[in-house]
């Protein structure tokens, strides 16, 4: 079964590569017209935020929908030189990076067991994580807050990182298992004949071969943690520990009259997630295509 899946995937990949080699063509004008309208709708609000940051408050009051005239960079300079922004940026980075690394690491380990070990309870293990998709953070947030409070982890980044990992695990495991299951048994046997233990096989063969899945799940975990709002809202009360989403909200209520600064703060806080996603976008689609097939 897994063999078939892998062959199908490589076959379709070969097909794609062939198509790419023959070169992308220009689409019809209608295609581009539709695409342009679509893009305009998608990015206009984002551009409003970014460009609004280059205006002054009086410009915004006179005509909220206008163009910067003249362009001012003081708002961005003000945010970029404020220690608050960098502290929250640092908190977000710590939270998102550790969530991503630990989630993917733990998920790879458990997915490896589910995909490649035969033992009683394997299906139970898989069902456990599949059922985890049914337990969204919203439902558990109140008791989770109490648990974190009892562990003494409120106002501590660890207090949001641990739950973030736990809630990112189900989706990560569900996406990774098919990748690991698709690695041919023959490879494992060959490695075993060459004297590699199953753990050695894990590091030398499984990790490189499941890289597309790892990247996909890693990006999703990173973006989820970077953008998370509900969990930090409950766990972090002290502005020194705020992540950027809380920071944006606090900044916009503190500076509610300083719209231009709010817009600058907001646009700077979205850069890392956007950057990350743009770099790996192609891989995300490729990584998911193995998982959603069933």
């Amino acid at each position: 079964m897994s063999q078939v899946a892998l062959t199908a995937r490589t076959a379709s990949k070969r097909g794609k590569r062939h198509a790419n080699a023959s070169g992308a063509t220009w689409g019809s004008p209608t295609t581009y017209l539709v695409a342009t309208v679509l893009i305009a709708l998608c990015i206009a609000p984002v551009l409003y935020i970014v460009i609004g940051g280059f205006r002054t408050n009086s410009q915004i009051t006179v005509d909220p929908s206008g163009w910067p005239k003249p362009w001012v960079i003081t708002n961005y300079v003000q945010v970029l030189t404020s220690p608050v922004f960098w502290q929250q940026f640092g908190n977000s980075t710590i939270s998102a990076v550790s969530t991503t690394v630990v989630t993917v690491g733990l998920a790879l380990m458990v997915s490896f067991v589910i995909a490649r070990y035969k033992f009683r309870g394997r299906n139970v293990m898989y069902s456990l994580f599949a059922a985890g998709l049914m337990f969204p953070l919203t439902v558990a947030i109140t008791p989770l807050y109490l648990l974190i409070k009892n562990l003494g982890l409120t106002n501590n980044l660890v207090g949001i990182i641990l739950p973030q990992i736990a809630f990112a695990l189900p989706a990560t495991v569900i996406i990774l298992v098919p990748f690991l299951a698709a690695i041919p048994k023959e490879l494992e046997e060959a490695a075993s004949i060459d004297g590699a233990s199953r753990i050695g096989f894990f590091f030398r063969m499984v990790l490189p071969l499941s890289l597309p899945g790892v990247i996909t799940t890693g990006i999703l975990a990173f973006i989820g943690a970077w953008n998370g709002y509900l969990l930090p809202l409950f766990i972090l009360n002290d502005s020194a520990h705020y992540t950027l989403p809380l920071g944006v909200q606090a900044f916009s209520s503190e500076h509610s009259v300083d719209t231009a600064a709010v817009l600058a703060f907001t646009s700077l806080s979205m850069i890392p997630a956007l950057l990350f996603f743009s770099i790996f976008e192609r891989r995300i689609v490729g990584g998911l295509s193995g998982a959603v097939k069933g």
């Binding site: 295609t31 695409a35 679509l38 456990l128 648990l147 817009l263 956007l274």
Partner: protein, 340 residues
């Protein structure tokens, strides 16, 4: 356990000499070696699967059970809950007009999300799946709303949609001043405003899934159809659409669950109190307002459980319904015709 030992046999016969050589263990009968391999496998399973399962059980499953427990108490969150009130919290929830309104809003959001995002997402995915120049740029740009956080979306749209904000000014400037409305506070309009923002924000995710589904379809099918002289639209209608059926169902499932849990956008744009008067409150904003902010942790937990049970019932019903439809389709048209 016996089956695991059996499975191991072909492997261990191959790797046994190497391992024995390394450990300089005296090679004896087959039995201890097999037992050791079995034991080793168990150890590996525990070491590899243990950490993830512990973290998952501690921070996902345990809190949900605690919510069920706390939900039976009237409790302010300090010390051990002692004021057991049985099902009273649940009676309160389902007789509170605010919660019922929120539930109604959630239902509205579930249905409209499917109707508004589904067809559009499939169309966009087809558009983006064409091998045209500039495709990768178009893709990245279309996914931007999905990638930026709810807080940013909420802050940006909230500013734009103020009565004196960019949208209304723009409408006036292009001569459509008659359409100027209070997008956020008007109870007749607010929920539609929310739907537009939700669709804008989450359609990128639907498009990603659809694209992944489309790319999972073997190229051979398209080649065969092209040889048979099928047109582009025929190919999409008779090959792509049926074959991304599973993807569509997965997306619909995720979308329903997401709509039931909606919190961030409403909370940020409409705040804690305006949401109910503007008609956009959701079960989750109700939970945060009545639980955490009011300090009624017993009640807040009960609301969480209620949301979970409602979502679960809907999800299971959906799965049943979809599963039944799938089997009917698989068992030829006969059974379907009989029902008619």
């Amino acid at each position: 356990m016996s089956d695991s030992a059996e499975v191991l046999t072909p492997r261990s016969s191959g790797s046994q000499p190497a391992r024995d050589g390394a450990h300089r263990a005296p090679s004896r009968a087959d039995r201890p070696g097999r037992a050791r391999a079995d034991w080793r496998q168990r150890l590996e399973i525990v070491l590899l699967a243990g950490p993830a399962i512990i973290v998952f059980l501690t921070f996902v499953i345990f809190p949900v059970f605690m919510a069920a427990y706390y939900g039976f108490f009237k409790w302010k969150g300090f010390g051990v809950p002692t004021n057991f009130v049985g099902l009273q919290n649940y009676f309160t929830i389902f007789t509170d007009q605010n919660f019922l309104d929120a539930l109604k809003h959630n239902a509205f959001i579930v249905v409209l999300s499917l109707v508004m995002q589904g067809p559009a997402a499939i169309a966009f995915a087809l558009l983006l799946n064409q091998n045209i120049r500039g495709r990768s740029v178009i893709r990245v740009l279309i996914f931007i709303p999905y990638v930026i956080s709810e807080v940013i979306v909420g802050t940006g749209w909230g500013l734009m949609l103020q009565y004196q904000g960019a949208v209304n000014t723009l409408l006036t400037n292009i001569g459509l001043g008659a359409f100027k409305v209070d997008w956020i506070a008007d109870p007749n309009i607010a929920i539609w405003t929310l739907m537009v923002i939700i669709s804008w924000k989450y359609i990128g995710f639907a498009v990603i899934l659809m694209l992944a589904g489309i790319q999972g379809i073997p190229d051979e099918l398209y080649e065969a159809a092209a040889i048979d002289g099928a047109s582009y639209w025929q190919i999409q209608r008779w090959i792509t659409l049926p074959l991304i059926g599973p993807t569509i169902r997965v997306w619909a499932f995720l979308s329903i669950i997401g709509s039931m849990q909606l919190f961030d956008l409403v909370y940020i744009i409409w705040g804690q109190y305006v949401a109910s008067t503007a008609g956009t409150s959701t079960m989750a904003t109700y939970m945060v307002r009545e639980g955490r902010l009011a300090g009624n942790y017993g009640y807040g937990n009960a609301v969480g459980v209620a949301i979970f049970v409602i979502s679960l019932v809907i999800a299971l019903t959906y799965q049943r319904f979809v599963l039944r439809r799938d089997t009917e389709g698989a068992l030829t048209g006969d059974s379907g015709k009989k029902h008619k």
